[in-house]
Symmetry: C2
DNA sequence: TCACATGGTAATCCACCGCTTACTAAAAGC
DNA sequence: GCTTTTAGTAAGCGGTGGATTACCATGTGA
């Protein structure tokens, strides 16, 4: 048996990842992890491979993050499309798909946030912030670099990505999506709204630079 | 001293509401509540007035809900305005303002949700669902009852209200808003987007009923 | 003044759970 | 075949925290 990668450690970590994701940090007992990995609960097998519950949790979090971190390349690589609505549809579906895999992370953030403030900051920097940056890049790209003040692009990204994220969050918390909107219709409306907005924003191509608070 | 409304019960409940809102159910100890209300911690004063920690929590939740439940009359009453952008601005600002007061409720929902599934359902029915209904009413009203299929209206409400809710949620979780968008710019962009959408949707007034998935 | 209800306190009970220690069986090294 | 390391188990320690019990101080009515 190889040193360090003792096999059972992975077994325990698998169980830990699953249970932490389902129940959160607090509600997952060390004995549960042992039992779920096939060992006798509260017997100490866990502590042969992890020095503390927290260490296992940080390992679980690392796995979640690396599971999800390849998002930009996955969806972003598909992006330059001719049809604007198709492009938006890819973004919406891709993001919603990603957010399914991120659900465990969200549960952690919402529940155990103030137990590990450093981890929250890490997740934000590694994933959330990156998502918004991606969405901002899309808007500046599509609007044209000149006609897009930073404030507005940030706000647009917050609305666009925020509404998608919120869809999955409501699902996670209440068991059904916001306004009980079915996913296909939700994506359709999202695409409609942004297609409409981009069309109008890029229509004033020739001039009208500061035409942003019309009556 | 009056029977039943023993004064100290209110005192304890005040403390409980505050601490539950800040720290959540689990992290708030009975002794903390007693201490925060001016009694000696872990001494039993709490149990003179509440039969259990859970009972106090349910009382705290009732207070939060009734604190926030008058929202529809507050913002909805201001609503029929001539200027469409002004109308949207009132909705956005009013909702964001409401969501500040709802922050404690959100913290509870995110953290202690699966400890009290019945309470989550209650909150959803009494508050969240009502909010979406309100937003849906706005869209059906503005779009015209005939040209607004239910699916689409639900999706629009989910996007519009969801993006606002998400703004406050990110603030609560990470300490700063999505994409670091400042609130004024966020409201401005939100109003822009929906004004644009409503304009286009109501422009095809005379005909073009099923013009909803154009290339 | 005495009986008694009210309301706060101290001390304690008990269940839970993270973590440790002592032990045992089996695999690895010589 | 002997020792040494590795890996799992049983038992238990120690701290936490919800809840209970016994107690006492005060205010009220007969």
């Amino acid at each position: 048996m190889a040193r360090g990668t003792s096999g059972t450690r992975e077994q325990l970590l698998d169980a830990a990842v699953e249970l932490f994701g389902e129940r959160g940090y607090r509600a997952t007992k060390v004995g549960d992890i042992e039992a779920h990995a096939g060992f006798s609960p509260r017997a100490g097998a866990f502590y042969r491979h992890f020095s503390s519950k927290e260490e296992a949790f940080r390992a679980a979090l690392d796995r979640w993050i690396s599971d999800v971190a390849d998002f930009p390349s996955t969806v972003g690589a598909l992006l330059p499309l001719d049809d604007r609505r198709a492009e938006l549809t890819v973004i919406a579906r891709g993001t919603l798909q990603l957010l399914v895999r991120q659900r465990q992370l969200f549960r952690f953030l919402a529940r155990d946030s103030d137990e590990f403030p450093d981890l929250v900051a890490q997740v934000h920097d590694d994933l959330v912030g990156r998502g918004y940056t991606q969405m901002m890049a899309f808007f500046t790209w599509r609007l044209g670099r000149d006609r897009a003040p930073d404030d507005q692009v940030r706000a647009l990204a917050a609305i666009a990505l925020g509404s998608l994220a919120h869809y999955r969050q409501d699902e996670a918390i209440y068991g059904h999506p916001p306004a009980d909107a079915n996913e296909a219709a939700f994506v359709g409306a999202w695409v409609d709204v942004w297609a409409c907005w981009l069309e109008k924003a890029t229509a004033s191509e020739a001039g009208l630079e500061s035409r942003r608070s019309t009556t």
